[in-house]
């Protein structure tokens, strides 16, 4: 049996669901979603807390509810869904190799592909914490899966290392289940999770957030018995003499996310070392023709709502590619950033002729900036756009600007540069 589709979306989480629906909306587009697990929804299925959808639906939903909205929409379409199916290879000619229990090892031909595989959590090995290697050390997401999907607690006396959002959410979740969360530790001086999560998950429950603190040792042969923490210097290295032992049975890690990029990298998609995701154009197309990327595989998001809008753009782009082929790249603009203040921006390139009305650009800042505004300049230093003054702009919160296509037409040179300026 031969499988042929206009658009194949890999991943049935929030990005894949929105991308597939958006591609289908482009009329006469045959769309397939490939999902590794036995159900759609991705990581949202284990995110039973609320706070999803405030931007996109203007409602406060739980993760599974947010996913269900899109699953329900898809039920009204002829989008095909393959569950329990794992993609093992993608060729640059857009032939997908996949495996599942029903079809075996098989190929799917796609006119265009949307990569929406999300990301993985950085494990303990990646931060190379010394000590023993007992049970009781989990990524926050694994603990979340055990608690919310399987219905089990991973521990009773818990330290969370890293102040990422999942870590903060799990600090609250474990507390609600009767566990003692001793502290959340952050190596740097600024928490990496959203402010609202610091307030709602830590402050409201009296859980201390210890900034400039790291884990320097883990003890316990079978199960974690204690950890040793230390204060860190300005380069996040432990300061000798500040060690302190904490008795606990569990260490939860929330130390970052890694986009799930093995397959696109192997396919030859150009990567951005700043995001660990692909380099993309204004419609989320990668540098490999007909292959698009969106969601956490492209850049790590804080809000699912922004994943959705990015995925809608990718799905639409993929459907248009399937119909019309590659858009022209006349007047190609590189999207650059003031590297002193901003770490990266997505998309990295814009083909002005392919911008319908606006293009959304997202990025993260390096530091906290107060009473400042985002500006976009052209190569000659002229303002392309200036945005309103914000009370604060912080690294934990992804920034997003909408740049009207008309303004792009004004830009002189071959690039635009995003910066931050003190507001007045």
């Amino acid at each position: 049996m031969e499988f042929k589709y206009d658009v194949v979306v890999i991943g049935g989480g929030p990005a894949g669901l929105a991308a597939a629906y958006s591609a289908w909306e482009q009329k006469d587009t045959k769309v397939l979603i490939i999902e590794r697990l036995e159900e759609l929804g991705g990581i949202l299925n284990q995110c039973i807390h609320n706070g999803f959808g405030l931007h996109y639906f203007r409602e406060e939903l739980t993760g599974p509810e947010y996913a269900q909205r899109f699953i329900d929409r898809l039920k009204e379409t002829d989008v095909d869904i393959m569950l329990n199916t794992m993609v093992t290879d993608i060729s640059s000619e857009r032939v997908i190799t996949a495996i599942n229990p029903v079809n075996g090892c098989f190929e799917i031909k796609a006119k265009s592909i949307v990569l929406a595989m999300g990301c993985r959590e950085r494990p303990r090995g990646a931060i190379s914490t010394p000590g023993t290697r007992p049970a009781g050390i989990y990524t926050a997401g694994a603990a979340q899966r055990y608690a919310n999907m399987d219905g089990y607690l991973v521990g009773r006396k818990i330290v969370v290392f890293g102040s990422g959002d999942i870590g903060l959410i799990m600090a609250r979740r474990m507390t609600l289940e009767g566990a003692e969360v001793i502290a959340v530790l952050e190596r740097g001086g600024v928490p990496s999770g959203l402010t609202r999560n610091i307030v709602q998950c830590l402050d409201d429950f009296g859980i201390p957030l210890m900034l400039n603190t790291t884990v320097v040792d883990i003890s316990g042969r079978s199960r974690v018995e204690s950890i040793t923490i230390a204060k860190t210097d300005s380069r996040k290295n432990p300061i000798p003499g500040t060690e302190q032992k904490i008795d606990c049975d569990t260490l939860l890690l929330s130390v970052g996310l890694i986009p799930e990029n093995d397959i696109p990298e192997a396919t030859g998609v150009r990567m951005d070392p700043r995001t660990n995701g692909a380099v993309v154009y204004e419609n989320d197309e990668t540098t490999t023709e007909g292959i698009f990327a969106c969601g956490n595989i492209l850049q790590v998001h804080d809000l699912v709502d922004y994943v959705t809008s990015e995925a809608i753009r990718a799905g639409k782009g993929a459907a248009q590619y399937a119909k019309n082929g590659e858009p022209g790249s006349e007047g190609l603009l590189d999207v650059e950033v003031d590297t002193n203040m901003i770490t990266y921006a997505v998309p990295q390139m814009i083909r002005p002729a392919n911008v319908e009305k606006n293009v959304d650009i997202s990025f993260r800042v390096r530091d906290r900036y107060e009473d400042s505004r985002i500006v976009v300049k052209d190569e000659e230093g002229n303002y392309v756009a200036r945005y309103g003054v914000k009370a604060y702009i912080i690294p934990a919160e992804m920034q997003r600007i909408t740049l009207p296509g008309k303004m792009l037409e004004k830009a002189k040179g071959s690039k635009i540069i995003i910066g931050i300026e003190k507001g007045e």
């Binding site: 093992t88 090995g125 190379s128 607690l153 991973v154």
Partner: protein, 480 residues
């Protein structure tokens, strides 16, 4: 009553058990841990040494050379990953070069095939990512790499198929010598046997001393390692050593048979024979030392660090043979490096040692001497399809980093030596050994173990006894 009890199911005990399982005798294999291959066998450099290191005339030289020559055949028979990738010993200055020449001569005397000294240019032509600061190297083309756990597991599985009694979670607490037999007491029970083989690794001195004169003291010596993500591992072909020092063979950089890069070890003597905790100072040392050999190793791609404890001893040599004062008690002890390489030869010799000690044995007419493993990710598309058509569990990938299927995990759970912990399955299937280190597949494997065995989820272990991954049901599950 058994004819032979082997104490310890690391690579040495397992190899001996397999060789003995070809004979019409009764053999028991006692292991203190809840799985096999848990000591130095689990955490070492995974090198098949060519044999230029041990001094001429030593047991280490004898078994190294013989073991290395047996390795390819045994790995083929057991379907154990093995690769003859060669090795270089780098010289950075004239002193090192003298050491290289010494190793060359020793290797020649020991009978190492193909040894030669390569100059700066040739070495770099063969291994372009080496430091430009080298002035030459010893090249040993017969050196190789192997999957040490799988070799141990294959030996033990085949031994069990041939009738050996494997008793896990049995810590030997005492041995009593009677006239014609031994009584071996463990924390679980008492076993009678005519012969005892001591393959207890870092605990072998304690076992020896239970019933023999004190003849060696184990100096447990820790070695730390880093494991690098496969995507940044393609820097070398051969194993890269530095010149040996008093601390050992020095820090090496090597590929694993699975495609990762490993870097290590340090050599740190300690009291505790079981302490495998990793020290930051040792990790810093191996990083610095390895960058001297291969300057472009990307330590931001580290996926794991680990440590193993070698059974070094105060005699500096393997202790192999029957204790003269305690007839019937055989040591296969103080097996430090090159212990893994030597294991096939030591196992084979255990048969002769027991014969010489008076054990009558006759080869069985039939016994198993091969083992097959299904490694799904290595198969062709046609082979994968045939497998999935036969058993759809092979169509379900559980470990997405290493592409390990549910079929492989079920095979490990239902094996003659059942793998019933997350670590035991990891050792057999590689699940959890990739970039995310089990963050994704760990919970799923726990669910599969629970489903297949009927064990409650709260009893599922990460590895050793006491390593329960979950402590209690959540409130909602309790109410349900």
């Amino acid at each position: 009553m058994y004819d032979v009890i082997i104490i310890g199911c690391g690579i040495i005990g397992a190899a001996a058990a397999y060789e003995l399982s070809k004979y019409d005798i009764s053999v028991a294999l006692l292991e203190k841990e809840n799985d096999i291959a848990q000591g130095a066998t689990k955490a070492n450099s995974a090198i098949v040494h060519a044999g230029y290191d041990p001094e001429e005339g030593t047991l280490m030289a004898k078994y190294n050379i013989k073991g290395a020559s047996m390795m390819k055949g045994i790995c083929e028979a057991f379907d154990v990953p093995y690769k003859q990738c060669g090795a270089f010993v780098l010289a950075f200055d004239d002193n090192d070069m003298q050491e290289v020449e010494k190793l060359y001569k020793r290797g020649k005397n020991n009978g190492v095939p193909g040894l030669r000294i390569t100059g700066h240019d040739e070495t770099l032509a063969l291994e372009p990512h080496l430091s430009n600061n080298i002035i030459g190297a010893l090249y040993a083309p017969s050196s190789g790499i192997v999957d040490p756990w799988d070799l141990c597991i294959a030996y033990a599985q085949t031994a069990v198929r041939n009738g050996v009694d494997l008793k896990l979670s049995n810590t030997v607490v005492d041995i009593v010598k009677m006239d014609d037999r031994f009584i071996v007491r463990t924390d679980k029970g008492e076993y009678e046997t005519r012969y005892v083989v001591n393959a207890a690794g870092t605990h072998a001195d304690r076992i020896n001393d239970m019933v023999c004169e004190h003849r060696f003291t184990i100096v447990p010596t820790k070695g730390e390692y880093y494991v690098i993500d496969k995507k940044d591992s393609d820097l070398i072909n051969a194993t890269i050593f530095q010149c040996p020092s008093a601390k050992g063979k020095g820090v090496l950089v090597s590929r694993t048979v699975h495609g990762n890069l490993i870097v290590g070890p340090d050599a740190d003597p300690q009291e505790d024979p079981d302490d495998t905790s990793v020290k930051q100072s040792a990790l810093d040392y191996i990083m610095e030392a390895s960058l001297r050999s291969v300057p472009t190793i990307n330590f931001r791609s580290v996926i794991r660090s680990y440590a193993g404890v070698r059974a070094n001893s105060d005699v500096g040599e393997f202790v192999i043979g029957e204790a003269p004062e305690t007839p019937g008690f055989i040591n296969l002890a103080a097996i430090k490096s090159p212990g893994l390489t030597s294991a096939p030869a030591i196992g084979l010799d255990a048969v002769d040692i027991l014969k010489d000690a008076g054990l009558n044995m006759k080869k069985k007419n039939e016994y198993v001497e091969t083992r097959k493993m299904i490694r799904f990710d290595e198969l062709s598309a046609e082979e994968k399809n045939a497998l999935i058509a036969d058993d759809p569990h092979f169509g379900k990938i559980i470990c997405r980093c290493e592409h390990v299927t549910e079929g492989e995990i079920l095979a490990a759970i239902h094996d003659v030596i059942p793998a019933l912990t997350i670590d035991a399955i990891k050792k057999r299937c590689r699940s959890g050994m990739g970039r995310c280190q089990g963050g994704f597949c760990g919970p799923r494997i726990a669910e599969i173990i629970a489903r297949e065995t009927g064990m409650p989820m709260t009893d599922i272990l990460q590895g050793p006894v006491g390593s329960e991954i979950l402590v209690a049901p959540t409130k909602s599950r309790e109410e349900a």
